[in-house]
């Protein structure tokens, strides 16, 4: 395999940026960080040409052949271990890498008014970006795990130091939850390693692990795959987050500073869905096709949708409301993945991207209002439409995109998942249909909380206490414009903007499962 430096460059450029941020003079810090985030983004755009062309060429005949820009170096080859530095992207990782570099760039701009020790902030910020990029492109399970843990540390400090009044509580909660998940993932990882037999030796190679026959012991023991699946699932479910592992999310969001919330909702949650699609399903295709597993995942997805929406409806803290809406939206991802249909997979993947855009936009919008009035109590807000018309317009665009209005990105993900899950056969003739109908009622609840919050924040008579509130600034509009444009572009041309790059890989994963069955 030929080695490509491009992906490695993209992954480690932010780390280099962190080094630079630590040494440059104080006044240059922001610009340095911005520069590195921007260059990373531009570099990641160079991935696009790799994914243009006939599907057969781009995605390869099977899941294992679809990886581009592979870079592989031996890393730890002592004490009997064979661990490689092994990265590459396929249709699954590529859009998320691109999303990561974009959201990080925008979050970096959104961080402009961080005053408390900016050196540390931007350093950790760039470290976090490297961690996420690594997660989305690692092809060695050990490396994946290292990057996975690497995201944890900067996030902990970013919430714990730059957060709101209950930041310690939120940061520790976030840390412990994720740690619990990753410990279980570690067990599964080691289990896979020692059970694997790839060309005569154990391996962490994710591509190899997904090849049939590499895990001989697993072929015969049903309980083994179920146990491993559950271990991995909890690890990823914490990130998504799936009910009942979700309670860290509202706390973390409420306390995190705005740009960190953008990253948390826009990118970190995607690591869970990505993990399921990259690790659980290709390595344990048999477990995923077990009726009980599909039922459990599907029901949890529906619970997420409905329960998240209900909780969002009850919140008076604007940011907490948006956090719960994230839980509701990520439920569609889980439902789409669980029921094993091509449309559902596409919907789940699209929903991840779309939610990355809309949730970043929503958290940013909440941050804008918080910067101006210094509270987030929806009940006390009101009548802002008259004070800030431009802001209101952008906010309504963002919120309606999240609500799943046709023509905006949220709609495509939801309808793909719903139409896909309706056709699912894994739950018997009616099971999937019942779940779909229940999930579809979620769109009513979503309309409920979105419209109610729009009404309480923007509509009504202007309030005198917000008379002097300044309109959204140019820098802030500059952040919203790419997000808004993408929301519209993805909603109008979902195939050309996203799905054309991912469908082959998702089909290949599904085929893997059918093959193994």
């Amino acid at each position: 395999m030929e080695n490509h430096w491009l992906l490695t460059g993209i992954i480690f450029l932010p780390l280099l940026g962190m080094g630079a941020v630590l040494v440059v003079p104080r006044t240059w810090i922001r610009w340095t960080a911005l520069g590195f985030a921007l260059v990373t983004f531009l570099l990641s755009l160079a991935l696009v040409p790799q994914f243009r062309g006939a599907p057969a060429d781009v995605f390869g005949p099977a899941y294992q052949d679809g990886f581009k820009l592979v870079d592989r170096l031996p890393w730890i080859h002592s004490a009997g271990f064979a661990i490689d530095y092994f990265v590459g992207v396929d249709g699954l990782g590529f859009p998320l890498v691109l999303l990561t570099t974009l959201i990080c760039l925008l979050a970096c701009i959104a961080s402009w008014n961080i005053e408390k020790s900016p050196r540390g902030y931007f350093g950790l910020f760039l470290l976090l970006e490297t961690g996420m990029l690594g997660v989305f492109s690692a092809l060695d399970f050990f490396l994946f795990y290292v990057f996975w843990e690497l995201t944890l540390l900067p996030m902990y400090f970013l919430i714990g130091i730059w957060g709101g009044p209950r930041r310690e509580y939120a940061a520790i909660k976030f840390f412990l939850y994720t740690l619990l998940g990753s410990v279980l993932m570690l067990i599964a990882m080691l289990w896979f390693y020692f059970a694997s037999n790839h060309e005569g030796s154990h391996t962490f190679n994710l591509i190899a692990l997904s090849t049939p026959g590499v895990l001989p012991a697993f072929a015969t023991h049903k309980t083994m795959w179920i146990v491993c699946f559950v271990l991995l699932y909890i690890g990823f479910a914490v990130k998504i987050p799936v009910f009942p592992f979700h309670t860290w999310l509202p706390d973390a969001h409420v306390e995190a500073p705005t740009p960190i919330s953008m990253i948390l909702a826009g990118l970190l949650l995607k690591m869970g869905g990505y993990g399921l699609l990259r690790i659980s399903y290709p390595i344990l295709p048999n477990a995923a096709a077990v009726g009980a597993v599909a039922w459990t995942l599907g029901i949890l997805g529906v619970i997420n949708i409905i329960y998240g929406a209900l909780c969002a409806l009850a919140q008076t803290d604007f940011k907490k409301l948006v956090a719960y809406s994230s839980i509701s939206h990520m439920g569609f991802v889980l439902l789409g993945i669980a029921l094993l249909t091509p449309a559902g997979f596409q919907g789940a993947m699209f929903q991840m991207i779309a939610h990355g855009i809309t949730s970043a936009a929503m958290f940013f919008l909440v941050g804008v209002i918080y910067d101006r009035v210094h509270h987030r109590d929806i009940v006390r807000l009101g009548g802002l439409a008259g004070q800030m018309p431009v802001y209101t317009g952008l906010a309504i665009l963002g919120f309606f995109a999240a609500m799943g209005l046709p023509g905006l990105c949220g709609f495509i993900g939801e309808i793909y998942v719903l139409l896909g899950s309706w056709q699912a056969t894994v739950l018997g003739p009616v099971g999937a249909k019942v779940l779909t109908v229940i999930a579809a009622t979620g769109v009513i609840l979503t309309a409920g909380y979105i419209l109610w919050s729009i009404q309480r924040v923007f509509l009504g008579a202007p309030k005198p206490e917000y008379a002097g509130v300044p309109e959204i600034s140019r820098r802030e509009i500059g952040i919203m414009v790419p997000l808004g444009t993408l929301a519209v572009a993805l909603g109008v041309l979902p195939w050309q903007t996203v799905l054309v790059f991912v469908h082959g890989t998702l089909d290949n994963i599904l085929r893997l499962m059918i093959y193994n069955r």
Binding site: T247, A314, Y324, Q346, P406, W422, A447
Partner: protein, 681 residues
């Protein structure tokens, strides 16, 4: 002919261009010019569609033209985004563009001086774009997309004066109630896609025809009812009609365009489009929903005193007529009424807007009276529209309502158990004449009951009355025409019996094959009484020919009775203020009781149900969001943390910090080890 779709697509995109321009440059363009821009684009679109329609009618045309482009792939199914043009599309498209043009022009006058004037035209343009897209769309998914978009525009426009809490609430309510219907609509699409693998209408029909649902007729019925529920929400049918009266909080041109002429009719259009796949049972369900709606809301309209609310309930009632017509198989009649209704109801709303404008915002008809002197043009045009809706011969409403009643009579004649489906609309016809004439008389005639309102009333500017005049002409003439003697697609299509006018154009688009027709002729399905009875419904249009005369007589009698009663009330009222008391002593009392009951039922039970379910959802939300999540799930999590902490505290007890204690423990441990070793050896 090849140019045809592209001409319509161009006309469709013009309002979008207006929207985009106004979104970004609206405030720069400013007050009058943004209105002229939007109206100009709309009129251009109307001109294009009129030319297209003329060409279509007079220069021959195929049954339908379709243009589509690959849009996306849903799983393995390719989904195209396309437009489909047939006679119905042409009629609807032209109606929407023409009515919208009138209303755009009118709005320039009506919205004069509003601080968000450009914004208003931004929303209107987006609405026109979405509505035209809905009409053009060739697939269920496309219909759904624009369906949602018109709902969004409706939301924005109802809540246009968002400073008023009532407007903001009404907007929210409209959207959420519609979402309930949309949710089921979506389920209907899912059923269709799941069973047929197609979303385009033609694809779905051909799959269904080839037996995609063979053996699953119940599912097909369910799919039809689910799709119909989309229409129930959008067309404000019982029981999801509660949002429409509240929607009158929006500016009056909005009520005219969205909540009378076009958007609310989209539900009827949808039912018309999916008509071929509706099973007899589904059709019967639809017919009864229409029947309940039309009589209930007509009753309520009798007692309303807000000019716009009378019209709102009247709209619901008329939509009920259309739904009923479709349900009994009067496909042409239902859609014919849709078009005529769009013209005269838009006129009525614009007239009421003119009145409200002239009376400086007064909407209570009890405070009006004798406005004919002050605003003659408005009064005359309003009278024309009243005549049309009441079904006075030679006015458009007469023809379409007659067609509906004929279909209903034809249906009831063959299926005596469903006689109610004729009695209800016939009764409502009388009620319609009564409440509309009452509205007209109270507003424009009788005495001036509020001197203040009367003194300051004035005729509206030309920008506003010209559209009224245009619509008045349409309200009279649009209904003229003759049905072709034979149905389109009939083998024995005789050249001599061709019809003319709007109704014949609509008839051309009538689906040749329907599930219900199939069920009747082949009798291969389980022929339950209801199913077989209703199955012949689709032939009711044929049958209706024989029933036109009796239906006309009944309708005219009912109308005359209504007019007579209204006249009676008017005569008695002429010099009196307290017409409510008069109502009570006249023999209208019974009707009024019923009406009051209807209103009570509507406001207390149905609205209460809507609000109650909202409250219930909110309570559930508060329970799950605050109690369950914080105390339950999060409590569990924090409980784990607390347990760990307690365990740590327990372990702390041993850590005294005294060396002696540690040493004692050490020694004891050592001794135990020794004893154990000795004991084991």
């Amino acid at each position: 002919m090849d140019m045809m779709p592209y001409a319509f697509i161009t006309a469709w995109l013009l309002p979008l261009a207006g929207f985009v321009l106004l979104v970004f440059r609206g405030r720069k363009i400013g007050e009058p010019r943004s209105g002229y821009l939007a109206a100009g684009l709309m009129i251009t679109a109307a001109a294009i569609s009129l030319v297209g329609a003329t060409r279509w009618v007079f220069f021959g045309h195929p049954a339908s033209v379709e243009v589509s482009t690959a849009w996306l792939r849903l799983g393995t199914q390719a989904i195209h985004f396309g437009v489909r043009i047939d006679s119905l599309t042409i009629v609807m498209f032209t109606m929407v563009t023409v009515v919208a043009s009138c209303i755009f022009i009118y709005s320039i006058g009506y919205m004069h001086g509003d601080p968000r004037f450009p914004r208003f035209f931004t929303y209107l343009s987006l609405f026109a774009f979405s509505m035209l897209g809905l009409v053009l769309s060739d697939s269920l998914l496309g219909l759904f997309i624009f369906w949602e978009l018109v709902g969004l525009c409706s939301y924005f426009l109802i809540g246009f004066w968002y400073e008023k809490p009532a407007a903001a609430n009404a907007a929210k309510k409209a959207f959420i109630v519609n979402r309930v219907g949309d949710c089921l609509f979506l389920v209907g699409i899912a059923i269709m896609l799941g069973a047929t693998g197609a979303v385009t209408l033609t694809g779905v029909f051909s799959e269904v025809r080839q037996g995609a649902f063979a053996g699953h007729e119940t599912l097909l019925t369910l799919a039809g009812i689910c799709l119909f529920f989309g229409a129930v929400g959008k067309s404000a049918q019982f029981p999801l009609h509660v949002w429409l009266p509240d929607a009158m909080e929006g500016p009056t041109p909005v009520s005219a365009l969205i909540h009378a002429a076009t958007m609310v009719a989209a539900g009827v259009y949808l039912v018309g489009r999916v008509f071929p796949i509706l099973t007899p049972t589904a059709l019967l369900f639809i017919a009864y929903i229409g029947g309940i709606t039309l009589i209930g809301s007509a009753l309520i309209a009798v007692v309303m005193t807000d000019i716009k609310r009378v019209l709102a309930y009247s709209t619901i009632s008329q939509l009920g007529y259309m739904i009923l017509a479709l349900g009994v198989g009067g496909w042409v009649a239902g859609l014919f009424h849709l078009i005529t209704h769009a013209c005269f109801k838009a006129l009525l709303f614009l007239g009421s807007g003119s009145v409200i404008h002239g009376c400086h915002g007064e909407q209570d008809i009890r405070k009006m009276g004798r406005l004919h002197d002050k605003m003659p043009i408005t009064s005359w045009t309003f009278l024309v529209a009243t005549a049309a809706i009441a079904g006075v011969p030679f006015f458009s409403g007469f023809y379409s309502k007659d067609a509906i009643l004929a279909s209903a009579l034809g249906f009831s004649w063959t299926h005596r158990t469903h006689g109610l489906l004729f009695i209800l609309p016939a009764l409502a016809a009388g009620l319609t004449a009564f409440y509309m004439l009452r509205l007209y008389l109270l507003t424009f005639r009788t005495t001036a009951r509020d001197e203040h309102v009367y003194a300051h009333a004035h005729e509206s500017p030309r920008l506003m009355w010209v559209p009224l005049a245009v619509l008045a002409v349409l309200s009279i003439g649009i209904g003229w025409g003759r049905m072709p003697e034979h149905q389109a697609g009939d083998e024995a299509h005789a050249a001599g019996s061709r019809g003319w006018g709007l109704v014949s154009l609509i008839a051309e688009a009538q689906p040749a094959w329907t599930v219900s027709g199939d069920a009747g002729t082949h009798g291969s399905e389980a022929a339950s009484h209801v199913a077989s009875a209703a199955s012949e419904a689709s032939h009711a249009a044929d049958a209706a020919h024989g029933f036109h005369l009796p239906a006309t007589i009944v309708a005219t009698c009912a109308m005359l009775l209504g007019v007579f009663m209204a006249w009676l009330v008017y005569k008695l009222l002429l010099n009196k203020f307290y017409f409510d008391e008069l109502y009570r002593v006249t023999f209208v009392a019974g009707v009024l009781k019923l009406a009051a009951f209807g209103q009570w039922f509507d406001r207390v039970i149905l609205d209460g149900l809507a609000d109650g379910s909202a409250r219930w959802v909110a309570r559930t939300a508060f329970f799950s969001g605050l109690t369950l999540d914080n105390r339950g799930v999060d409590g569990l999590v924090n409980g784990v943390a607390r347990t760990a902490l307690a365990g740590g505290n327990l372990a702390r007890l041993g850590q005294t910090g005294r060396v002696r204690n540690y040493l004692l423990a050490l020694a004891t441990g050592g001794a135990l080890v020794v004893i154990l070793l000795v004991w084991m050896s």
